[in-house]
């Protein structure tokens, strides 16, 4: 392992530690909702653990993994050292200190406000300050990524960025646009309020700022996974990328459309006019389009791979694909699950239909298919691919790495399908115990919460298998004389030598900012003009 690998590896280990702790919380929660009497099962521990699970997976695991992966891409796709490695390390420590501070406050029971931290629930100031430090650290990552790209561009005037870097730059832009919302919420509203400097906070304004961040956050997770699907999977499958230019279009569409969609999380909120919710709905459906394009390009790339491996016939190529490769299996299963998650997502976005599923278990079913599988399982597959290349060691316990994605797939099917069903039957999400004093409606949920708990146990076994392979590889993996290189899929048609419209990040960012100004500027202006009454903080936990 040379020095350059330490930076991404440090990020990956923080991500894995967060993931391991979160998995333990998760299996407890799934069992609690099935009314399994675990020792020390209390409401306080349950809501504490839901908070920890949400923060550690949605914010810590993903952000650290993406930062680490981004550094790998920048260095290997651009074939140059990072610009500002010192800033990168400083950012890592800032983000880590923030994470440790927030986690400590959560574990002490002083911040059981869930990862959405909606005021007027008021956490200990350490929670908000920790979250702010995590975001500030990630901004340092953005700075290094952009600086490194600009240095590369100076030496390669006119050439488009390699596709993997193109996708990561889109991720960076989406993240900056997204985090402006949450930074205003946390720094302007919540930190002074939790310190007692200000007395009240408007909860609807805070929710609007949170979801300005909360939905593009989804694409911040998803775009690096798409980078893997487009630029790593086809090569590992033994083929080529079907279309490089369309992939660029896809990433650009995400830059433009990721942010002006957040009101679809607030369909049921008072204080936001229906017309603005409809505007965000239209944008939300538009953002389905780049994912449809991705489905075509990635499956076509796999067919190219299958045929290059000698596959014949309409479906004969499928059998020729390298199903024994952990990266391949993880990513293909992740994509399969994502197709189901996309369906439930379209229901969530369905303006009127949302009333049937809002804040029910359906929603937790949905995002465990999307971020919890499409993204998380892709990241696990990427880990199997990255660790040998970064550590120079062979994967330890490869059989576990082969079985683990299937376990995740099966466990998630139990878990997520059951949650979708209980959601349609009206079970609220995030409840410690869904007995509701024996109400008839609640009795109908019980068989399904048991299925969900069974899924949770399978997922836990899968998560532990993943960690066993990761830690085993680092400690006991056989050293390789020449580790495989980090290389990206070649496109079927050569990439044009000049930058095209779809490589002009500045232009698309301006368009995205304009859309955000319309989608949020106008309705927030309307909100601020109301006679509003803020809320003091409450700590009912």
């Amino acid at each position: 392992m040379n020095r350059a690998q330490r930076l991404p590896l440090a990020h990956l280990w923080v991500a894995f530690a967060a993931f391991g702790l979160a998995s333990l919380m998760a299996v407890m929660q799934a069992m609690s909702r099935a009314e399994v009497q675990l020792p020390a099962r209390t409401a306080a521990i349950y809501y504490l653990s839901v908070t920890a699970h949400g923060v550690l997976t949605a914010l810590v695991f993903t952000t650290f993994f993406i930062m680490g992966f981004g550094y790998v891409i920048a260095r290997t796709a651009l074939r140059r050292p990072l610009v500002g490695e010192g800033v990168a390390w400083a950012s890592f420590w800032i983000a880590l200190i923030g994470t440790l501070l927030a986690t400590l406050v959560i574990v002490l029971g002083k911040a059981s406000v869930l990862y959405t931290f909606y005021p007027p629930l008021q956490a200990h100031p350490g929670f908000y300050i920790g979250a702010a430090l995590l975001v500030i650290g990630s901004w340092g990552w953005c700075w290094v990524m952009v600086r490194t790209y600009r240095a590369w561009r100076r030496d390669n005037s006119g050439a488009p960025a390699p596709l993997a870097m193109h996708g990561l730059l889109a991720t960076v832009i989406v993240w900056i646009l997204a985090t402006i919302g949450v930074a205003i919420e946390v720094v302007v509203l919540l930190i002074p309020w939790s310190l007692g400097i200000t007395k009240t906070v408007d909860p609807i304004l805070a929710r609007a700022l949170f979801w300005w961040f909360g939905h593009p956050l989804v694409y911040f997770w998803l775009l690096p996974a798409y980078v893997a699907w487009y630029t790593i999977l086809p090569r590992e499958a033994g083929g080529k990328l079907f279309s490089d230019p369309l992939a660029r279009v896809v990433f650009v569409l995400f830059i433009v459309l990721s942010t002006p969609v957040g009101f679809h999380h607030q369909f049921m909120d008072p204080g936001i006019p229906a017309g603005w919710k409809l505007f965000h709905t239209v944008n939300t459906f538009a953002i389905l389009f780049p994912s449809f394009l991705t489905a075509f390009t990635v499956i076509a790339s796999l067919e190219v791979a299958g045929r290059m491996r000698g596959g014949r016939g309409l479906f004969g190529w499928l059998g020729k694909l390298p199903w024994g490769e952990p990266l391949f299996t993880s990513v293909v299963l992740a994509m399969t699950i994502f197709a189901v998650g996309g369906f439930s997502g379209a229901v969530n976005a369905g303006y009127g239909m949302n009333a049937m599923v809002h804040n029910t278990a359906w929603v937790q079913g949905h995002f465990h298919l999307t971020v919890g599988s499409a993204v998380a399982l892709t990241f696990m597959g990427l880990t199997y691919w990255l660790l040998p290349r970064l550590l120079g060691r062979e994967l330890k316990f490869p059989a576990f790495a082969q079985v683990q994605p299937w376990l995740w797939f099966v466990g998630m099917m139990f878990f997520a399908v059951a949650n979708h069903v209980t959601g349609l039957l009206g079970m609220p999400r995030r409840v410690y115990d869904p007995a509701y004093f024996g109400a008839a409606a609640a009795r109908a949920w019980a068989p399904w919460t048991a299925v969900s708990a069974a899924g949770g146990v399978i997922l836990f076994v899968s998560a532990m298998s993943f960690l066993l392979v990761a830690v085993g590889t680092a400690l006991w993996g056989k050293r390789m004389a020449s580790p495989p290189e980090i290389a990206y899929a070649e496109p079927l048609e050569p990439v044009p030598p000049r930058r095209s419209l779809w490589d002009r990040f500045g232009l698309w960012t301006v368009l995205a900012v304009l859309l955000v100004l319309i989608a949020y500027g106008l309705p927030l202006f309307g909100l601020l003009r109301l006679e509003r009454f803020g809320s003091p903080g409450f700590k009912p936990f």
């Binding site: 909860p203 230019p245 709905t281 809002h358 008839a440």
Partner: protein
């Protein structure tokens, strides 16, 4: 940019599917008037119990036969805890919170609203099936979130 024929077919198909989704959504919005509850009205959360709009919670039948329900969602109960409404008539719920965020969801119906301190949530529906319904809070509101529940009784029209 080279785009293959199958790719073009897929792109047009995807675009049409999205247009069909949006078309059906706009048809239900403007044709059937199905919109999410988006009432804009503010209230001082510290003075909810003395505010004339919420001082008396409960059910009133208005001259036109429609029904109005005024309720509070608070840590960790709904006030009133039991609501009786007639079947087959439009019922408008007006709900607010004196403390944290809550949800107001009537299981097995399309009533689902966020309840925020400082704002009045309003949602209208017609219950066609008489019977007993479970009202749950579906937004986390602290340690008693899972016991925050109420009862709606829809009575058959006489």
């Amino acid at each position: 940019m080279k785009v293959y024929l199958y790719e073009k077919i897929w792109m047009w198909g995807s675009a049409l599917l999205i247009v069909a989704f949006l078309g059906s959504l706009l048809a239900t919005t403007f044709g059937l008037g199905i919109r999410p509850p988006s009432h804009v009205e503010t209230i001082d959360p510290k003075a909810v119990r003395t505010d004339p709009r919420f001082a008396a919670s409960g059910v009133t039948v208005r001259p036109d036969g429609s029904v109005r329900v005024v309720a509070l969602a608070q840590i960790w109960a709904f006030v009133p805890n039991e609501i009786r409404v007639p079947a087959g008539r439009p019922v408008t719920f007006r709900v607010t919170s004196p403390d944290v965020l809550h949800g107001f969801q009537i299981v097995g119906t399309n009533v689902n609203a966020m309840v925020a301190p400082g704002y009045v949530s309003q949602v209208t529906t017609t219950f066609h099936r008489p019977g007993e319904y479970l009202i749950v809070c579906n937004e986390y509101c602290g340690l008693g979130h899972h016991v925050m529940a109420g009862k709606l009784i829809v009575e058959a029209a006489p």
